[in-house]
Subunit: 366 residues, 4 copies
Amino acid sequence: MAGSEFGTILRVATWGESHGPGVGVVLDGCPAGLPLKEEDIQSYLDRRKPGQSRFTTARAEADQVEILSGVFEGKTTGTPVSMIVRNTDQRSRDYGNLMELYRPGHADYTFDCKYGFRDYRGGGRSSGRETIGRVAAGAVAKKFLESLGIQVRAYTSAIGGISIDREKFCWSDMEENRLYMPDREAAARAEAFLEQKMSQQDSAGGIVECVISGMPPGVGEPVFEKLDGNLAKAMMSIGAVKGVELGDGFLAAESSGSENNDGFLMEKGQIKKRTNHSGGVLGGMSDGSDILVRVAFKPTPSISRSQKTVTRSGEETEIEIRGRHDPVIVPRAVVVVEAMAALTAADMLLLSMTSRLDRIQEFFRK
Amino acid sequence: MAGSEFGTILRVATWGESHGPGVGVVLDGCPAGLPLKEEDIQSYLDRRKPGQSRFTTARAEADQVEILSGVFEGKTTGTPVSMIVRNTDQRSRDYGNLMELYRPGHADYTFDCKYGFRDYRGGGRSSGRETIGRVAAGAVAKKFLESLGIQVRAYTSAIGGISIDREKFCWSDMEENRLYMPDREAAARAEAFLEQKMSQQDSAGGIVECVISGMPPGVGEPVFEKLDGNLAKAMMSIGAVKGVELGDGFLAAESSGSENNDGFLMEKGQIKKRTNHSGGVLGGMSDGSDILVRVAFKPTPSISRSQKTVTRSGEETEIEIRGRHDPVIVPRAVVVVEAMAALTAADMLLLSMTSRLDRIQEFFRK
Amino acid sequence: MAGSEFGTILRVATWGESHGPGVGVVLDGCPAGLPLKEEDIQSYLDRRKPGQSRFTTARAEADQVEILSGVFEGKTTGTPVSMIVRNTDQRSRDYGNLMELYRPGHADYTFDCKYGFRDYRGGGRSSGRETIGRVAAGAVAKKFLESLGIQVRAYTSAIGGISIDREKFCWSDMEENRLYMPDREAAARAEAFLEQKMSQQDSAGGIVECVISGMPPGVGEPVFEKLDGNLAKAMMSIGAVKGVELGDGFLAAESSGSENNDGFLMEKGQIKKRTNHSGGVLGGMSDGSDILVRVAFKPTPSISRSQKTVTRSGEETEIEIRGRHDPVIVPRAVVVVEAMAALTAADMLLLSMTSRLDRIQEFFRK
Amino acid sequence: MAGSEFGTILRVATWGESHGPGVGVVLDGCPAGLPLKEEDIQSYLDRRKPGQSRFTTARAEADQVEILSGVFEGKTTGTPVSMIVRNTDQRSRDYGNLMELYRPGHADYTFDCKYGFRDYRGGGRSSGRETIGRVAAGAVAKKFLESLGIQVRAYTSAIGGISIDREKFCWSDMEENRLYMPDREAAARAEAFLEQKMSQQDSAGGIVECVISGMPPGVGEPVFEKLDGNLAKAMMSIGAVKGVELGDGFLAAESSGSENNDGFLMEKGQIKKRTNHSGGVLGGMSDGSDILVRVAFKPTPSISRSQKTVTRSGEETEIEIRGRHDPVIVPRAVVVVEAMAALTAADMLLLSMTSRLDRIQEFFRK
């Protein structure tokens, strides 16, 4: 249980380091019969690929995915879908000088504590490249969800202190800026802000939001395997994430019951909520409204400014991190948030099939 | 996998409804040889017991725990520790009128969606009484952690918008007010605020913080089973929780790398961090600093003010919730947060024993 | 993961020792809407109850089950079903002298190796009383399976070397003898054989067979979670079991492909097998035929004859085990085999619901 | 939970079909610091490679393993070890005519029932090639166990009805015959027997035995996660296995307590057993003796003799299976049994580290 796996019915196992031969994922439990080809996955990988703008690392990786198993004649067979992306641009010498130092804000020190030594090249297993496996598996999960009418979409809602204006929210704006912000004005300000950070040899954090729509009510388990609990774990499992909220989140702590409770009403013969402070989850189960998750990312820890640190052998020193690093991780993390949300939603949806005897009887009666 | 279980090595399974014969827990995987008696657990249960102040429900429950297994001659045997608390004050008629209505902010509607019907008495499985099992198991986990020099302590940091002043933080203050706030002045203001809410037939939310100190570095798994990820899931699994942060949390999203990175230094021959913006976790693994978790609770959804809702059969109506309810859940949730943190920390600590060959060889050489 | 739990969707957690306050089980993941009352369970517990014939221990236990949760208005709610049986006849002094000795064939020595000490009263957790929890949970699983037209039935096929004659197999015979053998003549011979063993202060083993009929084809996962693999684990988890076979079992090793392969044919428009050497499982998945499991039990290790052993402190000595013990465990194990088969079958049936996209789409389309 | 995964702490996930691009495995939870190179694994793969004798399929596969992750500077890092073997000799046309037929004794029919369709080329996921991943992971597990003084060795004990003579048991004989029988005379007779089967266009089964020696006592969990239970499941998860025994196995059912119980004695200050009828496991936990497992394999179902079957569309027909098939699977299965035993033993050994408080305290005190 070294924890490179995620999910209960739909199971993901990622593997691979930044500077090894490649990275990949095994997705077990994907239902049989889902049309799937490499291009379906490639389009997601391209969204997290480095080198797409001045705000992402210049590392040049093709990130071409190969499906190794689990697909036959264009459809998933129900057996594990194994996918691999070869690493092609591994300049190990860039990292060699970091072998003996602990970079602040990185997991170098904790890896050494846990395992006695570490693959010090490019963050090893804590590298952002680990998320390639998540995104590839998440692409399959999204395709599965879409076949059931469920959508998962994430976007950048803030870079540093610059937030989108909810009044100006526009999905199409998002496609037009490299920060994936659905508000072109906020995006322009955020870009200027990032330029400034870069000139200061510094970095920034931000917030990603994700919306799951079309989820039937009753998905999620009411005690320890809550839908929101699993989403929180999924999000926190992404590097650099420091906080997760559902719906009104921390603001709810300052609200009152009369404001925060979402009343019910009837709409075209269907039970609906009047508002959505809950973020689509009540008692750990989906309530039929949009599921809203907010995820806080800390600033990229790799900065070229001088920082105080220590060596493995216990001497105080200073470090300046050279190499290719994103001044902000948020834009490339958007697709990772989307992937983790899709994997969680698909897994819990499948789990929810076994909750009622009448529906089980109907299923087996055929 | 209906999810009434939590943990990997140290496994908790809670059971029981608000108005059934009782509630309880089975704790499997507790190491053999831990001194344990019922009083160890009772003191924790007493902290969450209702009827202790005007801000908690008047329901009168003795909440006496009985240990049914797993302890022999005053020590745990390594086999499951089963614990039960009988429900004694179940006034079902208080709830009978809610059978056909969906209470806003509650899980009534989602339970019906998931299972086709529900035990409508007192929230059934989503009742706060479910947490009795968590607190009982958490008491054992805390005792186990303490035997290794690890402390887990939670407190109320905010009620509604009233927060403690970090400058005036005082552990002993916490014992002196029923809100468990470690700042007596903030507590006084919060009590006045709650009086006002009650007079308005309304309710409030708040924030609980938890500190785990003494955790050795390297605990937590670096990808999907991160220490912070599991803490987030554990906290989100508590009813009414809408957000979780580690360390600086959402504030980190507005910070810069140069501010947010915690530099290292040497202190008495040990590697330490200069600051603790990370909240004690780097790359999903403990970094030797205090682990800091913040948890946002929404306002109690049960309010006697009239609210708009619908019936099971789909008619719009209004509801006024009578009965015994806390105007704020936060003070009683403090010990639940502490329990879930202890269970998570103990579980991941045990998991961390298998990470290094040299230490495994040493373990079995004996 | 101290392993007092079993199953993936339908989860069982047993607890309790022979001489503690009681034994019990938490069954999580039972679908909502199954009619269930205590009598449904009691009839199964009565089948394993001691004191029913001269071939079972004289320990007098009422073994009255109490359902503590998960049932409301006569139906399961989908939440954990917690069940308890209080121990009433615990004569600890019978066992006190065994505190310092290791009984041959028992787990005394291995418990001490694992945990450093043990609850030495009556086998502690390795007592046959642990199976009460399994039988109670199995009764629920059987009821669930029956609601889908699936039957699980076990019987004694051999006591010592005395086997039933397949030509004379008769289900109703089984009800008429305390050995649960479906062949009255074999039962008579087995009873005489057991009398002889008892007079020799010795004990016997035997074989239990179990048939699962009505299982739809395609249940079971094709690699590590095979239906037969999980049945094997389930059976081996019962104390005293030393071997498990599916279908022809070990005899298949001496057969040839042309004999052992089950040809297919059409029967009323349905695909059927001409024979059933496979025991109802092909490639780990049910093939629509009866599933046949054979389970070998070793002789009861508790015998009053003198045996060579050692003390905890490492001195050689002899031991004579007094107290109340079954000369053969097999008759009382029949219902335990049935329970474990039902739990395994129900769990894998539920798991099988998520294998095909077309059926999942149909399920959520409603 | 489609079940392509195995283990709790040491986790294996295999992937790949007979006629896809390749097969492979991800091994998660391997402790850091184990020296590992591709040759360590290749020697095991070579043992199961086809084309080594006239009794194995003529399919020519190099079966060259590539380690893709988890190893740095010659040692495991504690992160997932991903390994791949490319398929090179895939003659799909050999199997094309089987697309519409169900081969008796194979999983063709059950795959179609479960998933709605199947990759009909060479058995797809039920192909013997799936075991490559198991053997590769098992090689790592064996290396880990050997570093702790634990040996795992398997051999053929019977082909058809021809068994080894225990009096003539000789490990070195095993290396000298392609059947891996540790008795050269039995091997010679078995070879003649197989020649005859081949001339009859028929096939044979057999028995593999496995010995785990050096295991410390107390490994295995006493209820559902017994060491023998997990071994049984592991063995049954290998294709064509129909029975599993521990120690005396089914013979124990005919024995008496006085014969079957293993008395204890002192040997050089250590507690030992006088005999080993139990096969090294008492109450689900290792007892310090050799652990003995026997595994029954059915005859290879692929025979060129004509067999009765049906088509997918439900017409009765006959089938003659051409192509390259082993007349007996047993010799190539020996290393698979060894691999599964090693994976199980290593996993349960790691799990056993968390059972005692005193040893945990010692571990963290350092």
